[in-house]
Assembly symmetry: C2
Homo-oligomer: 236 residues x 2
């Protein structure tokens, strides 16, 4: 059996060894869900930026630019952080430059891993299939919320641990806890998450359709994978 | 309603505000369980030390000295970190100096709080009663394991959040998650925890009776409370 572990926050990633592992970075509301939606709807590659201005400057190089701060589209950006904004297929073939509050930080802190995937509910099974075909240890790196434990990322992590149970065993307490929590709450993710602090913040932005999208399983049969500085799709 | 929140590791405590709150420090296996057992069995006060040598030097001042490193009694110390070692009442009236791997660190990082309590399953209801009588916001500070999320501390936190639900509501995602996890696993804590990494380590030290003690509810009707540098008992 291979091992699977969870890191609940980029603030704790220094406690984990990344070497030889595949890291799955997850920021369910909404960065990594948006990335998967963009890739599944024709975006050819995505570059992520921690810095808003650096991301904005990519427009000059022909990139579609997407920026969000605290849940809203950042001033001067074409796209915010809504996964459903890509479903119309209008942006096929474009390169996307994207910055977010928490997700980009988690990606940049995962570079020592063998591979970095981007995790989201809409491509959970494809990610599971890819991880099982690779047969390496897995670390699920939750972007969290301003450094703190975050319910939606942790529940995705629990779902992934549960889905990997035939090939990967939990190597620390966090993955045991989240697997059990997903077993209890997984049948009604939206109901359970409606109590969460971040979900409450998102409700204030009137993005109920985003939340529904982010919690829907297996819409797409592709994975999102970092290739150098670019996030690209790979069909499964 | 007052608020209750969980910090899963001393490495994350800087993200929380402690001002005006009562912090409950918890290190179930075994530091805080041992402290509560010692206080309930006649130890008059406890001083905690992060540094082993500093703790050892307290012997010269008449203290009983207890020291543990990685689950074993530290060389030259009279007591290890076993809660059942106090049950014979042999140490009545003694002052105790104690150092542990994780628990002492969590206490030292909680000093900005209004009050610091020590949490353990054997005095859970007494702690709940005290917190409800005070009517302040509560932060549960899990000592964790070498900075990481730890199952037994987190489950205690979930039990405390659950027990406080008539007076305190979860103010962040961690307390929602652990309340739900405790609802699912609380009926068989020992069975669930037997999968945990730390419990496995403890089994290697043949301390099954310690584990049973640490997971037993409401043996004592006192709280453990920091008064300056000393931990003392207060009957409820």
């Amino acid at each position: 059996m291979r091992k699977v572990e969870i890191c609940f926050s980029p603030e704790l990633i220094h406690l984990h060894s990344l070497e030889g592992k595949i890291v799955v970075v997850v920021d369910i509301f909404r960065a990594t869900s948006t990335m998967i939606s963009a890739l599944a709807n024709g975006i050819s590659e995505i570059r992520t930026f921690a810095d808003l201005e650096e991301c904005r400057s990519m427009k000059e190089q022909g990139y579609l630019i997407a920026g969000e701060r605290n849940g809203l589209t950042a001033p001067g950006f074409e796209m915010g952080n809504s996964p459903v904004a890509y479903l119309n297929g209008k942006h096929q073939g474009r390169k996307l430059a994207m910055t977010t509050t928490n997700g980009t930080l988690a990606i940049s802190k995962s570079v020592e891993a063998d591979e970095i995937l981007i995790g989201a509910f809409p491509n959970l099974s494809a990610t599971v299939q890819y991880l099982q075909s690779k047969g390496k240890d897995v670390l699920i790196h939750c972007a969290g919320w301003k450094g703190m434990f975050n319910l939606e990322d942790s529940l995705y992590a629990g779902a992934l641990v549960k889905s990997l149970e035939s090939s990967h065993e939990p190597s620390e307490d966090g993955s045991l806890a989240m697997k059990s929590l997903f077993e209890k709450e997984g049948h009604d993710l939206k109901g359970f998450l409606s109590q969460a602090s971040h979900a409450k913040r998102l409700q204030n932005h009137n993005i109920d359709s985003d939340i529904d999208f982010c919690l829907t399983l297996d819409l797409f049969s592709l994975i999102g994978k970092m290739e150098g500085e670019n996030l690209v799709a790979q069909e499964i």
